[in-house]
């Protein structure tokens, strides 16, 4: 089933559309969510269900190019999981590593009335990543959007773990400076 048919099902036959969405993208949603919420299976399952509902509610207004629904699913899953992570962090007082601040910075705001994701946030993310030379752009996209671990990224790109870490480190510094200049994050 292609993206257009799936979106049409979500709009006109929600029960069918949700089931088809679960079948087609359930595994991907689960994988992204669990990367951000690895410790609690219950939370991850709840979050994955939230993602499905969010996509369903946004389907009415979504205008996607063919083949990009997968990208939207990833973006939605990531932001919903980060929102849940924030709430859990407040509850459990987890300590965040240095990467989390950037992870959260790139998170689009989550509203109770789920709608089309903020295009300005997405545009900002795309500009930031596009400004990086390869393979840094892919490393960043995988680390901060797909939330893959450094070993996973290194294995996929055929790079040394240390090399990936140092590129992330350098890139984070530049990105932080850029975001401060643009007023996205405070100094």
């Amino acid at each position: 089933m292609d993206d257009r048919e799936l979106l049409e099902a979500l709009r006109t036959r929600p029960e069918d559309g949700l089931w088809l969405l679960t079948q087609q993208y359930g595994g991907l949603i689960d994988a992204v969510v669990r990367r951000i919420l690895p410790g609690d299976a219950e939370d991850a399952e709840e979050c994955a269900a939230d993602v499905l509902v969010r996509i369903w509610r946004a389907a009415e207004k979504l205008e996607l190019q063919e083949g990009t629904l997968r990208g939207y699913v990833i973006w939605c899953a990531r932001n919903t999981a980060i929102d849940r992570y924030r709430r859990l962090k407040r509850q459990r007082q987890r300590t965040a590593d240095g990467g989390d601040e950037l992870l959260e910075t790139f998170a689009a705001p989550v509203t109770t009335e789920a709608s089309v994701e903020s295009e300005s946030t997405m545009a900002q993310v795309e500009r930031s990543i596009r400004a990086m030379p390869p393979p840094d752009d892919e490393i960043f996209a995988r680390r901060f959007l797909l939330c893959e671990t450094v070993p996973q990224i290194a294995a996929r790109l055929g790079m040394n773990i240390k090399a990936v870490e140092s590129r992330l480190q350098r890139g984070k510094k530049k990105l932080r400076e850029q975001l401060v200049r643009e007023g996205v994050t405070p100094e």
């Binding site: 410790g39 269900a49 987890r94 545009a123 596009r130």
Partner: protein, 320 residues
């Protein structure tokens, strides 16, 4: 007027261009994400069904998918939760609940007669099956089994059942009343922690008062979903001695003998026990344990943790 118009037009045009650019960049980001390959194992049918059911509840949708008509969107009964891989068909469920109801009445009467009768976990499962199945499977079993309804409980007495049947049920399910004292003592500590402290429910952490009679056991046994099989009697299992400790995020957790069945599709991305110390020491670092299980995955489960040890997910309770 024309001057004002000319002032407005560039602003409107600039805004339109900015929106168009943002849309294009947002689309480019989605295309970038869509093109990234990533490891994402497909969900099993059971996992898909669970996820779909939760999403439908959150969405406030009640209709059933014509496409997914094999999905059972009813809440699983306790019997289904305990044995998710073996989902009985409807007439089997009715037969199971009717047989369980009969067994409950026989046992309840036997308990009153013998006094001090104790039920093992297998019968507790049957009882929970009965209570929940009769609550949730509502009119169907009653409609198709009128004889069960017509014979009201008051009319079913010990006399109406054969002595052999009652003895057979009692013998197969009850602990041996002639068992040595230590076995009896072990069975009497059902749901009690091996350390002698009051047992803790997995969900809320509240203490469960000690059971004194069969009725108490029926009412207050640990939740069905946390009990797997008839062998999992806390306090009698070889594992879960209560001295296993694990430190996670500044909180110490102690191992119990409760075996859980969390729905975990893959342990690949779970946190793992990072280091160990001697058994007589207290773990101090995050992810540290005082038993030999380095690399064992764990996750938050209700008020505590679920830790995968020797192929079983064991409940670890927070140490106050």
């Amino acid at each position: 007027m024309s001057g004002q118009d000319s002032k407005r037009k560039p602003d409107a045009g600039f805004e339109r261009d900015r929106k168009t650019t943002e849309q294009a960049e947002a689309g480019a980001l989605l295309a970038r994400l869509a093109a990234l390959e990533t490891d994402a194992a497909p969900l099993s049918e059971a996992q898909q069904a669970t996820l779909y059911r939760r999403a439908m509840e959150k969405a406030g949708l009640t209709g059933q998918s014509a496409v997914g008509d094999a999905i059972d969107t009813e809440e699983p009964t306790a019997a289904e939760t305990a044995s998710p891989k073996k989902k009985p068909i409807r007439w089997q469920r009715w037969a199971l609940s009717a047989a369980a109801a009969l067994a409950v009445m026989v046992l309840g009467t036997a308990a009153l007669v013998s006094g001090g009768f104790r039920m093992n976990m297998g019968m507790a499962e049957a009882q929970y099956s009965t209570e929940t199945a009769m609550d949730t499977a509502a009119p169907e079993p009653r409609e198709t089994a009128p004889e069960v309804e017509e014979d009201s409980p008051a009319e079913i007495t010990m006399d109406s059942l054969t002595a052999d049947h009652a003895a057979g049920i009692a013998e197969s399910s009850a602990p041996d009343m002639n068992a040595p004292a230590d076995e009896k003592a072990a069975e009497e500590t059902i749901a009690e922690e091996p350390t002698g402290k009051e047992p803790v429910s997995g969900e809320t952490g509240e203490a469960i008062p000690p059971k004194e009679s069969t009725e108490d056991c029926v009412e207050e046994c640990p939740p069905e979903e946390e009990i797997i099989g008839t062998d999992n009697i806390p306090g009698t299992a070889a594992n879960g001695s209560g001295t296993e400790l694990l430190m996670v995020n500044g909180q110490l957790y102690r191992g119990t003998a409760l075996v859980l069945e969390p729905s975990v599709s893959s342990t690949e991305r779970l946190a793992r026990i990072a280091s160990t110390v001697a058994a007589e020491e207290l773990p101090a670092a995050d992810g540290q344990a005082n038993f030999d299980a380095a690399g064992a995955p764990y996750l938050y489960w209700r008020s505590g943790l679920a830790v995968l040890l020797d192929g079983e997910w064991r409940f670890f309770e927070p140490v106050e």
